[in-house]
Amino acid sequence: MSPTAVTRKTAARRSRAARGKVKPADVLIVGAGFAGLGTAIRLLAAGIDNIVILERGSEVGGTWRDNSYPGAACDIPSNLYSFSFAQNPQWSRGYSGSGEILGYIRHLVAHYKLGRLIRFGHTVTGLAFDAEQGVWNASLAGGGVVSARAAVMAQGPLSNASFPDIAGIERFKGHKIHSARWDHGYDFTGKRVAVIGTGASAVQIIPELVGKAARLKVFQRTPAWVLPRLDYSAPDWSKAVFRRVPATQSLVREVMYWAHESMAFGMIWNTPMTTLLQGVSSRFLRRQVRDPWMRRQLAPDFRIGCKRVLMSSDYYRALQRDNCELITWPIAGIVEKGIRTSEGLEHQVDCIVFATGFEVSKSGTPFPITGLDGRKLGAEWARGAQAYKSVNVAGYPNLFMTFGPNSGPGHNSALVYMESQIDYIVRGIGTILRQDLKQLDVRAEAQVRYNKGIQKRLATTNWNSGCKSWYLTEDGYNATMYPGFATQFKRQMKTFAQQDYRAL
C-alpha cells in the first residue's frame, strides 16, 4: 500500500466521520482503574493522545476505590504492586493499605495529566463494532454513544460485587454490608456482627472488626491455606534512598519479583515445593491455633495453590479472641434476626458483612459486545472465555482486553502481567493507527492454537487439581489463570506477531 493510498483512505475516513456527528477518538478505554489508567499512560508515551476513558464511578481507582473496608490491603508487596514505569518511593509499608494504593493511583492521574481524558459517570452498556467505518461504538446508560477506532476493555475482573444468593437474604432486618461497598457510616462498636466468607477480604476484615464488635461470628464454607504476611513499616531512610537513587528501588523490586517467581514452582505445579509450602502453612496453623478441633476446621483439604492462598498474620489470632466464634455449619438461610445454620441454631446479629467476593466473569461479558457480522462475545464465551494471548478475540477487530482470559497470576503481582498486556495493546493500537487499518483482527486459527497450548498446560496445574474455585467455570474449565511464570507471560507478550492477525 503506497503512502498516497494511505493518505487517501485517511482522508476518506475523515470526511465520513465529519459527515457523522462526532469524530471518533483513536482509543476508548472502559474503566479508570489500574489497567485503564496504565493503558492511557503508555498510549500517551507512544504519542497516542486522542483517548477517551469511560468510567462509571465518580472517582478513579476501580477495585481500590471500591474496596475500602477496614484492613483492606494488597497481599503483594507494594514495591511490586505498582507500575515499573511509575515507582513510588514513598510506600509507608511493605504491604500498603487500600487508601495508600488509591493515593498512588490518584498520583498517576495527576502526574500524567489523565484527568482530561476521563469521563466520569459514563456507564458503558454495550460495545458494537462498525465494520464499515472500522470503529467501536460504546453505548452509554442514559443515552449517547462514544466511538473510537480501538477499544480497550479495562473494567477489571473484580469490579462487580453483589450480595450472594442465600435463601431469605431479603428478610434480614439488620444492617447488610458488602466488603466491596463498605458502609463507613456504620458504627460496629458493641454490635453483634456476622461475617460470611473467609477469603482474601474476610481475613483482612475480621482482625479489624473483632476489636470493635461485641460479638463476631465468622461463617466459613471452605478453609483456605494461609501464610503469614511479613508486613513492615518502611523506615524513612529507605524512602530517602529510593527517592535519591531510584535504581535501588528497581533492584528491590527485581528481588521481590524473582522471590515471587520462585513461588510458582509450589503454587502452580505440584512439586516438592508444594509440599514444603503446605508444611509451612500447616505449621503456622499449628503454632497459631491451640484447639485441635478448630485446627481441623481451618485445615484445607485441597492442594495449596488450587485456590487463592491467603496472606495474614493476624487472622487466626482474631478467630481465637473471646468475642469471636468460627462457625463451619452450612448456612441454612437468613431470617429477620440473623443467620440459621444447619445444626438448628439461629445466630442473631445486628449486622451481616458479606465478604463473599466478586462476580468474576469467566463465561460471558460485563455488557453485550457485538463483533463482525453481529456475533456476540457473550454467546461465544458462554461455556468459558478464550482469547489470543489474553488480549484479542477473533471476530472482534480492534478490541483489546486487560485481564482477559487466562492472564491471572497465582504467585506474582497482577500488575506485572498487566504491564506486559498494556505494552502489547499499545503495539496493537499503534499498528492500527500507523497503518491506518480499519480492522486488525486476530486469526481464529491462531487463537485456537494458542488456547490449545494453554489448556494443555493448565491440565497439569494445581488450579485444575480438583478443588472448586472462582478460577474455574461450573464445568471445571479454567478461563482465568495463566499456566506459567510471569517471565513466560511477559515474553509471550513482547512479540506482536502480525502474521497472526488479519489486517484490513
Binding site: P292, P330, K337, G338, S342, E343, G344, E346
Partner: protein, 306 residues
Amino acid sequence: MNIDLDKMLAKVRSSQWALADIDWDAPGAELVTAEQWPKLKEFMSDLMWIEHVGARGFAAMAKKAPNDTLKELYVYFHAEEQRHANTEMALMRRWGMLDGEEIPEPNINLRLVIEWLDQHSDDMPLEVLGSVIPMLEIALDGALCKFLLDTVNDPVCHQAFARINDDESRHLGVGFHVLEMQGHGNLYRMALKAVATALNPKLMLGILAYLPLLNRMRDNIITMGLKEESLYSAMKKYERIGGRTAAGRRNPWFQIISRHGRLVVNRKHLYHRPVDALVRLTDHYPRRLLRPIPTWVKQLTYKTTA
C-alpha cells in the same frame, strides 16, 4: 439402592429446619409420667449422645468422600445429626431433665468412643464408617425413635421426631447407596483391603470402644422397656436393605457388620461374655487417662438462638 446424589443434595438443602421452628413451650410436657421420667432421662441422654457421635462420624466421612456432592451431603448430615442431638437436648430441657446449662454426662463407653472419634476417625477409610453409620442410623430410626414415640405422648416430641425421621430417611438412603458403591470392584482386592484395614491398630481400638458401648446401650434400652425384638428387626432391616443388591453383599464391611449385628441381638451367644466383661471393665477405666473433652462436644446446645 441407586439414588441421584445431586437431587438428594438439592432435597437436603431445601429441607433444612431449625430448633426455633418448634414451640418448645407448647403444652404437653406434663404427659411424661413420673414413672417414665428417670428412665426416659437416661434414654434421651444416650440417644442424644449417639446422634452426636454419629455427627462426628459424618464429619470424618466428609473428609473421605470420593466426590464433591457426597462430601457436601456429609457436611450437611454432620450438621443434621448435631441438630438432632440439639433437639433431643431441647426436649430434655422441656422435660426438666437438664441440670441448668449442663450437657448430660456421657457414660464412660461414650467417652471412650468420643475420644476414639476425636483421635482416629479422620484416619479411617470411608468403607468402615460408611458401613457402620447406616447400622446405627437404622437402629436409631427403626427401634429407638419408634419406641420413644410409642411410649411418650408429648405432641412436641412427636413434632420434633417427625422432622428428625425425615432427615434420617435421607441419611439412610445415601448410606445404603454408598454401602453399595463400596461393593463394586474386584472382590479379592476388596477382601484383602478389608483384612488390612481390620488389622489397623487404630481401628482395633475403635472396635474395643464400640463393642462395649453397644452392649451397654442395649442394656439401658431394654431396662427402659424396649423389646429386644425391635432391635432384632432393625438389625434384620440393615441386612435386608444392605444386602438386596449383589454390590451391597459384596461389600466386606457390610458382611462383617451384619454378622456382628446378629451376634449383638442373640443374647445367648458366647460373644456377650467377653463384651459384657468389657463393659464392667470400662466402669473401672481410670478417668485421669481420659483426654479433655474435645471442643466439638461443647458445641452441643439446647438453645434455639445464639
